[in-house]
């Protein structure tokens, strides 16, 4: 796990050095101009946010079925990162909206869905902090229900209103734009994995410390 952490962290660092340069060199988009370049970070963070949300959901189901502490560690790590990447997505999206639509916020379907996902996972962290005994299970239920809820939120809000640019943009990117975009996606993914691994390593160390405390008490070292 440690090796993977070092590897992903170095790749992420490399990507963070290279991708701004690539993005700068990519051709200006005709209608949006410079503002369009937010897209190179905005879309990858949103993709990683979705990845981590569903990873959290799957880990939560695994925790509910097997009660394995490792599944729980994975769930809490992904939930924390869901809040971080969700905040990045909302922030970059908001900057885009200010320039493109003239407002910081609109009740567009994707914005609203992301905002609600963000609320679900902030709720997840609140439950874990203040829920007392049993909060791990409750948080797992929240993650599971949250994942099931995403499509329903999406459908209900989209009928309510929509104005976000279509996602068909990505497959139709011209090559000079596609390269920096996919480099940015890769960078975000590596950054995400590095953070996830760091969190998992932290959790593993904590479990070890707990076990050592128990062993010390067992050996009569602690009064």
């Amino acid at each position: 796990m440690k090796k993977m952490f070092v590897l992903t962290l170095s790749l992420a660092a490399l990507g963070l050095l290279v991708s701004p340069w690539l993005i700068l060199r990519a051709p200006q988009e005709s209608t949006m101009g410079l503002v369009q370049k937010i897209f190179y970070y905005h879309v990858p963070t949103a993709m990683v946010d979705f990845l981590t949300i569903y990873l959290c959901g799957i880990a939560s189901v695994a925790f509910l079925v097997k009660r394995s502490p490792r599944a729980d560690a994975l769930a809490v790590a992904s939930a924390e990162l869901a809040v971080v990447f969700g905040a990045c997505t909302l922030w970059t999206g908001s900057m885009w909206a200010r320039k493109a639509w003239g407002v910081w916020w609109t009740w567009d379907v994707r914005l609203t869905t992301f905002a609600l996902c963000e609320m679900v996972f902030i709720g997840y962290l609140l439950v874990r902090s203040y829920g007392g005994p049993g909060s791990r299970g409750l948080a797992a239920a929240l993650a599971l229900f949250g994942c099931a809820d995403v499509p329903l939120i999406y459908v209900s809000v989209s009928i309510w209103r929509t104005m976000h640019p279509q996602t068909t943009v990505v497959p139709n990117l011209v090559k000079p734009m596609a390269v920096p975009f996919w480099v940015a996606v890769f960078t975000m993914l590596m950054l995400y994995l590095a953070l996830l691994l760091a969190r998992l390593l932290h959790e593993r160390n904590r479990t070890r410390v707990d076990e050592l405390y128990v062993a010390a008490a067992e050996a009569g070292l602690e009064e």
């Binding site: 009660r67 410390v209 707990d210 405390y213 128990v214 008490a217 067992e218």
Partner: protein
């Protein structure tokens, strides 16, 4: 169903706290096991594990041939628990509480017998909210007997009982013991448990410090407790 319960090397860890550190013992039908120990010795945790509501971190519990982790509805129905809390609905009467739990256990028709058995005939149709602590304790015991348990677990059942209540509970427990029920009694009231328990286990810091069963009930428990706790 089952006539013995075996506990083998059971541990329970909460984060950095080790509540149980390898407890092994065997409970048998016709024995009333007094589980003694100072506060924080792990008595309630052990009781929780035996009630199937807590999972052990390690080790094995077997109810006859049924393992703890296979615990299902049939096994749950064969275990009764009297805990610190009353497990009762304050806005229902004593009789309604018993009828409700009886039906939950798939039975019916024994509410009156149980009420008489714990001496609550007169108060049966009053809301439980109006009961004294001792009366609630009696009803809690009647509730635990609703499913005709094979294993009956009692956590400080003498609390709040007056002297006649203690005497009545002792008689009832002796009847159950001689009737072949497996009993485990957690108590600090050593006098009330004397002449009743024919098996004594002392827990200290999550481990068994003393474990002895004999055919006749122990006459005194305070000496055993003083020597091992």
């Amino acid at each position: 169903m089952f006539d013995h319960v075996t506990v083998e090397g059971v541990t329970k860890v909460y984060g950095r706290q080790r509540a149980l550190g390898g407890v092994s013992l065997r409970l048998e039908a016709g024995r009333l096991c007094a589980l003694l120990g100072p506060n924080g010795a792990g008595k309630s945790t052990l009781l929780g594990i035996l009630s199937t509501l807590l999972r052990p971190t390690g080790g094995e519990v077997r109810f006859g041939s049924v393992q703890h982790r296979q615990a299902g509805r049939t096994l749950r129905g064969a275990i009764g628990l009297v805990a610190h809390e009353s497990f009762l609905y304050g806005d229902l009467t004593g009789r309604e509480n018993l009828r409700f739990f009886e039906r939950l256990y798939g039975g019916g028709g024994r509410a009156q017998t149980l009420l008489s058995r714990v001496g609550l005939d007169e108060a049966a149709d009053r809301p439980v909210r109006t009961y004294s602590r001792g009366m609630q304790q009696r009803l809690a015991l009647a509730r635990a007997l609703c499913g005709q348990p094979r294993l009956l677990l009692l956590d400080e059942p003498f609390t709040g009982l007056d002297s006649s209540g203690v005497a009545a509970l002792r008689t009832l427990l002796a009847e159950l013991r001689d009737g072949g029920v497996i009993l485990m009694l957690v108590t600090h009231d050593l006098a009330a448990a004397a002449e009743l328990a024919n098996h004594v286990v002392v827990l200290r810091r999550g481990k068994v410090a003393f474990d002895h069963a004999q055919s006749a009930p122990f006459a005194r428990l305070d000496e055993v407790y003083a020597a091992h706790a």
